[in-house]
Structures are given as C-alpha cells and as structure tokens.
C-alpha cells in the first residue's frame, strides 16, 4: 500500500523473498523504521494486564504458538498504524476463498474505527504474522472475532488511542469518540486528533486486554454489512496473483514421479533415460521420493514421463467392494467413547420397538480444481517458500525437518491456491518444491499433475456406521446407540510430522504413529467435535447435560483403524459423515413412529438454537407436515416427489443449520432430480451477510455433489479416481436446484464457525426426501441412480 517498502534485515530471506515482500507492501519491521520515528513505548497504566495462558494461544485449537511467533498477547503483533493513517493488520487466518480477509478487514475497521479502505491486511507469513495454527475447522471466526487475538488487539488499541487522545486534547475520555481514524470531542467537532499523530511509527507496547470494551453489534457500521470482496475485480480480470502465478528470477520447473503402486518402494532410477532431453537439469532422489527439474514446465512434464523408474511389487489393497465390512473387522483399533450412560443395552431390551440400520460413507477427495502448486527457493542454509498451505507455521517447522534446516531459517509465505476445503495437496507440493530446489540450489516451481493431485491426497474419511435406537409405546425415543468404524493414516503435518502427507513419507518420515486403545476410556470431558453424538441425546458427561437433545440413554463409540490411504480433514470432517447417519436414522425412527419428521425432531431437541433453525427451514420451505413416506399418487410419468429434513448442531455448539430438500425420483430408472434446497444457518453475529450466504450456497451445492456422485475408488494396487472422468463432481451445467439460504442473525452471542455447517446437512436431507418420495431408504453415499434403483427394487 502506501507504506515504505524496504528490505527487512532481521528476517533471513532470499532476494526473491525480499522482492515478494516488497510487492506485498512493506516489511513489518521496515515499516516501523521507515517512519523515521523512534520506537516509543507507551505506559498505559491500567490497561496493562498480566499475560495469561489464553493470550499465548492464538491458534484455532488452543495450541501454543511457535516460540518465535510474534507474541499473540501483544497488540503490536496484530496491528500497526502508519504515518499516513493507514492501518496494517496481521493475521494468521487466511483468505482461502471463503471471504475471511474481507470479514477480518471489517472487524479491524469496526473495532478500530477506521475506514475499511485504509486497512491493509497481511495474511500468514512466518516473518510477519502470529502463529495461528491452521485456517480450518470453522475456527477463524471463533478465534479472531470473539475476545482475543485480532478482535481483542483492536479493542485494546482503540481504548489506548482514546486515552492518548484525552491527554493530547486535554479532554476527559468519556467526552471523546473514535471515528474515521480520529479521536474527536463529542461536543466540539473542531477538537480532534488523528491516530497517525498519536501513534504513527510507534509501537503500542500493550498486552491484548481480553476485557477491552468491544463495540456492541447495535453500533456496527462496517461489520454486519454485505461489503464486496476487494479481491474480486482482480480475480475476474485475470490479474490476481495465485501461488500458481508466483515467478522468481532464475526459477526452474519441477515434476514428481510417485510410486507405481500404494506401498511400492524405489528400486532403481535410470537418469540416462532422460539426461539428454531438452531442458534437463536434474533427477532428484531422496529415499522413495523421485522428482525432476527442468528449465521449462513442458520439458519437466516430458522428462517425468520418460524417466525410467523401477518400483518394487506392493501388497494388494483391501477390496473396494467389501471395504466397509473390512473396516469392521480390522485390528487393532483406537477406540473413543464420546458419551456413555451405561444403560443403553438395558433400555433397548425394554423398548417397545428397536430399530437398527447401518450407513456407509466413502472416502472423498478435496479435488481442487487447480492442482496444487508451490514455489521454493532453498539456497544453502536458508529457504523461502510460497505455499498455499493452511498453516504457515506448521509448514515451516516440518519443512525445516525435511530439509535439515533450522526453522528460523525457513520462511513460509502464504499465497492463495485453488480452493482447498481442507488438506489438499498444498502441504505435500510445498515439500516437493523445496526438495527439488534444495537439490539444484535454485528456485523451483512445481504444479502437480491432475493424477498426482488426486491419487495421493489425504482423503476425507470413509465410515461404516451402526445406529440402534429404542422407541417406547408412544413412539418416543428412549435410547440411542451409535458405533462407527473409520480408517485413518497421516493427517495435517502439524509441527512434527512431515510424514503425515505423501512427500514427507516418501522422503523418509513416518506418519504419526497409530496408537491402539481398546476398550475406550470413559469420557471425562464433553466433546462433540466429530458430531459422533446425535443432536437428540442429552450428552451427559461429567455430571451435566451438554447435548442438544433430551434422550437420556445414550452411547457413542468410534473405532479408528489403519487406513490404506492417507486421510485428513475434508470440509466438515467426520461431522458430515456422522450427521448423514444420525439424520437418516432419525428419519427412519420418525417413520417407524408414524410421526412428522419435523415434529419428531422438535420433540427430541432441547437446544433453543436447534429448535429455531429447524423451524426456520421448515417455515421457509412451507413444510408439508405429515409422516413419511408420502402416500404414492400414481403418476403418469412414473415420477415420485418428496421432501426431507435434516439438521445439525455443528461440533455440538459451533454453528447450527437445518435443511429442507425437495426431490423427484424417476421410478423406472432411479434417476434423481433435486429441485429445491432450503437451508437455515445460525453462526452467531453475522460479520458479512453476503459472505455467509456465498459460503452457505457453495456448501449446499458441494454437499449435493458429495452426496450424489463423489467417491474415491481403487483397484488392487492404485487409486483409480485420477481425473474428472473417474471422480464425479457436478459441473457448472448440471440442473442446479433452487437454493434458498435463511440467515439467523444473533448479535449477542459469540461468533461460531460458518463454512462447514450448511454442507453437513445435505446428504441427510436428500436421502430423507428420497425416502419420502419413494419409501426406499438409501443408506450409502453417493446416491447413484443404480443404488436408488436397487433400493426401489428391494
């Protein structure tokens, strides 16, 4: 922006990094120096508070920040005010396409009382921004918009500016107001002082005060408004810089050669098979990692194809056809009990009716539309990487391990990639780029092939889920038992596991160890992080009810087993799969009780916010209240129509959503047409209604694609979902249903996540609508026409 752009001297970096930094606006430290002012510390007296443990934890899940991160408990780690009055804010919560930069700029503008256009937000760069773990798990709003971190820093700074303004103007603080980057007298508009005059070029030198006064939502002028994303014009005109567009002088191009089969080891690489090819620079081998470097991209592609590599035979993969039963029989297991009233078997024995069903959810992939890309410049003891990773500090720590460098000599700069929806190839391709760059001592760019992206990513979890419940004579649920099996291998690399993704593993690092544990210990604390606990039970743990429902007899047990493929978080990880099972099963119970599915849900829910989202969706959809299935009217065209409902208390308390789906099914073929999807969303106070709407609409249709077509498949040795013909994503041209999003604004409660709530309820709502239309129950995702036809026949 308008700030001086000088090379930072304190941060080790290559020239390319310095150039990129200059392009980004300025360096954090140079910014302070560039003003020409002394760094003066204010003594804010009463505003000083003891740094508590909470303030050192800026990450999404409460993990401590890296030791050399800008300290999250300091205001200066989050904001700086320049001599021109521009505000620079620093965040670890990235813009992945979900609109988080816009919402954070609104937050800063609002709390600090400066115009939106004067905010320059610096996103995720280990040389400048605090370690906030990963941008994931619907944690960005809870982490930065409630009272700590970015929100707390801004509120603390506003308080400090009011104090300074009071001294400067010699007017008591209670007669002053902060507006448009100035402190003004409430009664005399001529008495005012600009922030720049009060603090420009100086540090605040203040602890973030968790009790600093926040602006109430009733006074918001920037937050809560549908402000358009500042990056949109550049994206629409092809000028936006994605990581794919990063160019560093002298940059070479890489490609990788992955194993011939899952579990195969490298036997031999014949460099002479390619060394005479145009543009050839090097073949790079590190244990099972094989890559090539060339002068141009097309040359690297051709060299990678031509390279003669021999791999060992690999053991056969478990059969895809019988995989769900295979999961159930795997040993050892790691068992987790989320809730256990210890009377479930007894209650089921006394129930008037016992209902049982099993649900299946496949591995699914992130399948970014652009395959993952990174640029690395590793020279000697220093490395700079431009990466689409969701966690720059995690990437820095694990990349340092992989390269044998000191973490403080590695700089990771986030650059947006193609939408990731969780851990796609972003981390692994950053390792690829860095290994290749280290081997040639020059900057290297690599973008994975479509197949390398799809065949080796960390897939979203497969699940086999048994549900059992008992109904009393009046049709009320008296006990609910949930037992699930799900395979895991690797994960996000966090700070210590490069082997949690494929490149780190190939280069010699092991994934995080699978630690068997059976039987599961009884739950000591309540957590519904994976939505293993249905919304309809009491969630009684540690002497209190924490659940969203009323059923007292409850058990939720998970068995993790070892996966043949890498796994990791995919938008609404586990929560989506469990919710599909719970909501389908709730519908089966309502049908058995001959109750209306909405009324039946309301009857078993206690959480007011859940009641509200269910009622809101039902009302907007003009819900046809009656038991399912719908009495079949013989239609000339042989098409049956129906409606279904589904809902979730996301992670128990991190957002609430309900959906009504309306579908048509062609009875002869099983062909499904989804006509209308009405979704209600409660994410607490709404930062940007258009942004939330966009996220919810996208979540709904992505959920539809996952419910209807997406499934990772494999043969005896390899994943066979390797392109868009073998992995079925709904294209832009499918018959898009009418999508209606109802936002429930709750200004007076803490902000919750919003990116993963709507997607979570889709499969359940559609499956329930199919049942309503046809009387056939689909218990396996995806709902292909063949599966629907088979269910119709049975």
């Amino acid at each position: 922006m308008k700030n001086p752009s000088l090379p930072a001297t304190e941060v080790p970096m290559t020239q390319g990094a310095a150039d990129a930094l200059a392009r980004a606006g300025f360096s954090r430290r140079a910014f302070i120096k560039g003003t020409g002012a002394l760094i003066v510390s204010f003594s804010m007296g009463g505003a000083l508070r003891t740094l508590d443990a909470q303030q050192t934890r800026a990450g999404a899940f409460g993990e401590p920040a890296a030791p050399d991160s800008p300290p999250p408990g300091e205001v200066d780690s989050w904001i700086a005010i320049g001599s021109d009055g521009g505000v620079t804010a620093y965040t670890g919560k990235e813009e992945l396409g979900q609109g988080m930069s816009t919402a954070q700029m609104q937050l800063v503008a609002e709390e600090l009382c400066v115009p939106f256009r004067r905010i320059n937000l610096i996103v995720a760069d280990t040389s400048m921004t605090p370690d906030q773990g990963v941008t994931s798990g619907s944690q960005s709003h809870p982490t930065n918009f409630n009272h700590n971190n970015l929100a707390g820093a801004c509120a603390t700074a506003r308080g400090a500016l009011l104090q300074l303004g009071s001294k400067h103007l010699n007017i008591p603080e209670d007669q002053l107001v902060a507006v448009d980057g100035e402190i003004r007298s409430k009664s005399d508009a001529t008495k005012k002082v600009a922030y720049a005059e009060l603090v420009a070029g100086k540090k605040f030198d203040l602890k973030v005060d968790p009790a600093a006064k926040r602006k109430p939502a009733s006074e918001w002028t920037v937050l809560g408004k549908p402000i358009g994303r500042p990056d949109m014009p550049a994206m629409a005109t092809g000028t936006f810089e994605y990581v794919h567009n990063v160019r560093v002088p002298g940059m070479l191009h890489g490609m990788v050669i992955r194993p011939s089969a899952v579990g195969a080891n490298l036997m031999n690489v014949d460099e002479s098979s390619v060394s005479a090819m145009p543009g050839f620079v090097k073949v790079v081998v590190k244990k099972n990692f094989v890559g090539v470097v060339a002068e141009k991209t097309w040359q690297a592609v051709q060299i990678a194809r031509a390279l003669n590599v021999t791999w060992s035979p690999a053991p056969e993969l478990p059969k895809h056809e019988t995989f769900y039963d295979h999961l159930r029989n795997q040993k050892p297991t790691r068992d987790t009990m989320s809730v256990n009233s210890k009377d479930v078997d007894e209650k089921l024995a006394s129930a008037a009716t016992v209902v049982k069903a099993t649900y299946y959810h496949p591995y699914q992939m992130h399948g970014s539309v652009g395959s993952s890309c990174a640029v690395a410049d590793v020279q000697g003891e220093k490395a700079t990487v431009w990466s689409p990773t969701q966690g720059v500090w995690h990437q820095r720590a694990t990349l340092a391990m992989l390269l044998g460098l000191k973490p403080e000599n590695v700089r990771v700069i986030y650059r947006r990639g193609s939408g990731c929806y969780g851990i796609n190839g972003a981390d692994t391709v950053t390792y690829d780029a860095a290994l290749l760059s280290q081997a040639v001592g020059k900057p290297v760019r690599i973008q994975l092939t479509r197949k390398d992206e799809m065949a080796w990513e960390n897939y979203g979890f497969a699940f086999t889920i048994d549900e059992r419940a008992g109904l009393d004579a009046q049709g009320n649920i008296i006990a609910w038992d949930h037992e699930a099996w799900s395979p895991v291998l690797g994960n996000r690399p966090v700070y210590t596991y490069p082997g949690n993704v494929i490149t780190g593993f190939l280069a010699g690092f092991q994934p995080e160890e699978f630690r068997p544990r059976s039987p599961a210990p009884e739950p000591a604390n309540f957590s519904n992080n994976s939505n293993a606990i249905p919304s309809y039970v009491a969630g009684h743990v540690g002497g209190a009810d924490h659940g969203a429902g009323t059923i007292k007899s409850e058990r939720a047990l998970l068995h993790n087993v070892v996966s043949p493929f890498w796994t990791g978080p995919l938008r609404s990880p586990q929560r989506l799969q469990n919710t599909f099972a719970h909501e389908s099963f709730m519908d089966e119970l309502a049908a058995r009780a001959k109750a209306d599915p909405v009324e039946f849900r309301l009857r078993h829910l206690s959480e007011p916010r859940m009641l509200d989202v269910v009622k809101a969706a039902a009302k907007s959809a003009n819900w046809d209240a009656r038991p399912s299935p719908k009495p079949r009217a013989a239609s000339a065209a042989g098409i049956a129509s129906g409606r279904g409902i589904s809902c979730v208390a996301y992670e128990g308390d991190n957002g609430f959503s309900a959906m009504v789906a309306e579908v048509e099914v062609e009875l002869a073929t099983g062909k499904l047409t989804v006509k209308r999807l009405v979704v209600s969303v409660d994410a607490g106070p709404i930062s940007n209604p258009d942004g939330l709407r966009n996220q919810s609409e996208g979540g709904v249709l992505q959920g539809l694609s996952r419910a209807l077509g997406e499934e990772v498949t494999w043969d005896d040795h390899n994943v066979t979902s390797i392109d868009w013909r073998t992995y079925h994503s709904l294209p832009l041209g499918f018959a898009v249903p009418k999508v209606e999003v109802i936002l429930l604004n709750r200004p007076d409660v803490p902000a919750t996540g919003a990116g993963e709530t709507a997607i979570t309820v889709v499969a359940g709502a559609i499956g329930n609508a199919i049942f309503d239309a046809t009387g056939a129950r689909i218990r396996q995702v995806p709902f292909t026409a063949e599966r629907i036809k088979a269910a119709l026949a049975s």
Binding site: G97, M232, T237, G238, F240, H244, V369, S418, Q702, L732
Partner: protein, 155 residues
C-alpha cells in the same frame, strides 16, 4: 525449439519454444499471463480456457504451433479492473466467486457462448456451461451473473 509468432490480446509476440508445447505453458511461463490456469491438463475442467478467433479453446491440450498467427484472447484481454467487460462486471457485482481459480474458464466460456447465442434461455446457458468445473460450487451466483451480463450485452 523454434521461433513462433503469437497474437495475444492484440499484441504480437515471438517465442522460442518446442512447437508441441501446450499453449497454456507459453501463455503462463513465456508471456507471464495470469488468466489461463492449469487445472487438469486433460481438457476436462476448463480452467485453462482462452478464446481463439472467438471460440473457447482449452489451452492445456492445444499445441502452440496450431494457433500461430491467429487472434488469441485471455481473460486479461477481455477487460480490466478499470474497464471490465460486462461479464466481468456482472461477476464482480454478483460476487460470483469464492477461490476464483475457475473464473477464467467460466467467464471466457460464457463469453464465447453468449456471443454465439445472445438470446439463449437460462437452461441453454446452463447447458452451454456444462463442461466447466467450479469446486467451490458458486454455481447459483455464476449463472445469475451470466444472465445479468446477457441482459447488459443485449442493450
């Protein structure tokens, strides 16, 4: 390697490349353009789309030698931040993107389609976009933006 001449966004360029190189790599690497993007390399997703003589073409599977001397337009050539084409303007106004990676292919495919079918119905537009992929599933907004641009372009 051989010297080829290309006409991109109204400018002539001479590039020294392997003539079998996919056009996409020449546009991105040799000419430094950011619009066309590698998505699949198989012509399946549309992210690499460019207009060749007004036709939407997948540059990841188009050899550069086959488009010598003919007019090629990328997203940058369609309009600018200050002077966006009506389709680009409609996408900005409708906030019709999330990550935005697919926007290049979506906008240029829509441009070629609307030029040929200015009076297309909503359903026909949807069919016209059938081979383009958006994994953020911004579909409703994108189709709305194309409809909005269609009206604007008809004026």
């Amino acid at each position: 390697m051989s010297s080829l001449s290309l006409k991109v966004n109204g400018q002539s360029h001479s590039v020294d490349v392997d003539p079998t190189t996919p056009l996409l790599y020449v546009l991105s690497d040799d000419l430094g353009l950011r619009g066309p993007k590698f998505g699949c390399g198989l012509g399946q997703c549309g992210a690499c789309t460019v207009l060749v003589k007004g036709q939407a073409v997948r540059s990841c599977i188009t050899a550069v030698e086959s488009v010598q001397g003919v007019e090629i337009m990328t997203l940058e050539g369609l309009g600018t931040v200050d002077k966006p084409h009506p389709i680009q303007k409609a996408f900005i106004e409708e906030q019709a993107a999330q990550c935005g990676y697919c926007l290049n292919g979506v906008i240029l495919t829509a441009k070629a389609f609307l030029d040929k079918n200015p009076k297309a119905t909503e359903k026909e537009i949807q069919e016209g976009m059938s081979r383009v992929l958006c994994r953020c599933f911004t579909h409703t907004r994108m189709l709305r933006a194309i409809g909005r641009a269609q009206k604007e372009m008809a004026r």
